[in-house]
Subunit: 297 residues, 2 copies
């Protein structure tokens, strides 16, 4: 037997309602009302074009306002165009920026800052909507979503931060916490890398094209750095709002405070189906249904 059914069910290809527990996540998504989706603002996205295709990143100004502003300044100047993916460390991160940053031929930062004060945490959540995720988390006592991204908070200090789930984009830095700028970024391409929480500024989240980064080969230098010939060139990086409308994707994200999000979360926690008969009872923060899709006209 080829065990094809496992695969079909696991991939959500079977549209049949789950047994006894209402609908499957796929059916819930299909039936979701428009109001359960948040438009992703093109002015708050990066379109990074690689030879393999396009990676789209939603930025995180609620948690890293200065970093996001600096990245936008860099992008507007064409800073990243012609630079490279310069590192892939297996099951960890892909990183990009200026491979010659330490050399005389380093790309100019122009009007952008070369270093910024770290934006690892927010001191509080004043003015930020936080939607709790009820399941246990190994890394934080309270987790949830803010600005459409996975987040955590410390009930004692009030501090809040975004969490390094797969697809999260961070700001590379040197030993000095205040040495990052956004001119060199990385994305989590493997399992959650929560050790980085509160230690590296989160700049955003890949909302499309993560597999294009994840499928690149590991670099052969220590820590997955590429030798020059191994690098993948970055064709260009633009703000989504600077991409011609015909070429732009009209993306929307499932709101974490929506009925659809909660129904899918509940189906993942406690919904059995004909194949998965034992429900886990809980779901990891990084497996929450932060779905992104192209908006229907």
């Amino acid at each position: 037997m080829r065990k094809a059914v496992f695969l079909a069910v696991a991939a959500g290809l079977l549209a049949a309602p789950a047994l006894g527990q209402g609908q499957s996540p796929q059916a819930l998504l299909r039936a979701s009302p428009k109001a359960d989706w948040r438009p992703i603002d093109p002015a708050n996205t990066l379109y990074m074009d690689l030879p393999q295709g396009r990676v789209i990143i939603e930025l995180a100004p609620l948690f890293a306002p200065n970093t996001v502003a600096n990245i936008k300044t860099l992008v507007k100047q064409g800073f990243f165009d012609g630079l490279a993916i310069d590192r892939l460390q297996e099951a960890f991160v892909a990183q990009w920026g200026d491979p010659d940053a330490d050399e005389d031929k380093a790309r100019s930062y122009g009007a952008a800052k070369k270093t910024l004060t770290a934006e690892f945490v927010r001191p509080n959540l004043d003015g930020v909507e936080f939607t709790p995720w009820p399941d246990r988390d190994p890394y934080a006592l309270s987790v949830g979503f803010a600005g459409g991204m996975p987040a955590a908070r410390d009930p004692k200090t009030g501090q809040a931060w975004l969490t390094y789930c797969p697809g999260m984009v961070g700001v590379a830095r040197d030993m000095d916490p205040n040495s990052g700028s956004g001119g060199e970024l990385f994305a989590v391409i493997g399992p959650p890398a929560r050790k980085m929480d509160r230690n590296l500024t989160v700049a955003g989240r890949v909302v499309e094209g993560l597999p294009l980064l994840a499928r690149l080969k590991p670099g052969s230098e220590p820590a997955g750095f590429y030798k020059p010939a191994e690098r993948t060139p970055i064709l260009k990086v633009r703000l989504g709002s600077d991409v011609p409308a015909a070429e732009r994707k009209n993306l929307e994200a499932l709101r974490p405070d929506s009925a659809t999000f909660n129904a899918i979360a509940e189906a993942k926690r406690n919904g059995a189906d004909a194949f998965y008969r034992v429900a886990p009872g809980g779901v990891s923060l990084c497996d929450a249904p932060l779905e992104v899709r192209e908006a229907r006209p």
Copy 2:
């Protein structure tokens, strides 16, 4: 700046002791006494040779005795030799077995069984040493290690099971829970896939060569199945004990109840260093230091 330090520290390339918290995980491993390591029994391993190299799997007879026995029968018969990796679903699993299992030309099971009663859980842990992992887990109230693998238990029912962390090897099946045999297996190549806990028999854990599977291309058919031309051939699968000694690897695994394991776990939880200044306070079960290395002569 090229942010090279981040990379060095993240990869554990800096040998300097962590600040204020004793030694780094790398230094602890180097200093570990021999007694903290468990020899991996070659008779309990599979050596799967692919054109890309070798994948070594430790089997899980404590949790799946009948499945492991059946897999050994299949392997002894050469069942897998010349079969193929027939599926890779991105960020989920790579799967292998007989792509023609449903056809007339299906490979014979010989003396092995074509289906087995599911071994999803053990009814209890009688005779099995369980080492608890103290950190919160989203999927189970009690987690730890048994037989050197990540595991969970239900304090109410006493049931115990192995958990689908990266690298865990499972038994593919059809809709019927008792339709698996071990003749078609899969490995978790992406993030933890804990939804499968208690729903698919765990056959073992990849202890070497997981990147060889993870780096294969996703299949272009639904659920990541390969078209025939996309498949990776399996050259052969042998029990480690049937591999000539000169070609065999003398592997050993860090014992979860050892002082070294606990010191590394504690360093991951609460150890700060010059780069990671904020410690997470907890670590996910799937990030526990289940280290495997080649034994020193």
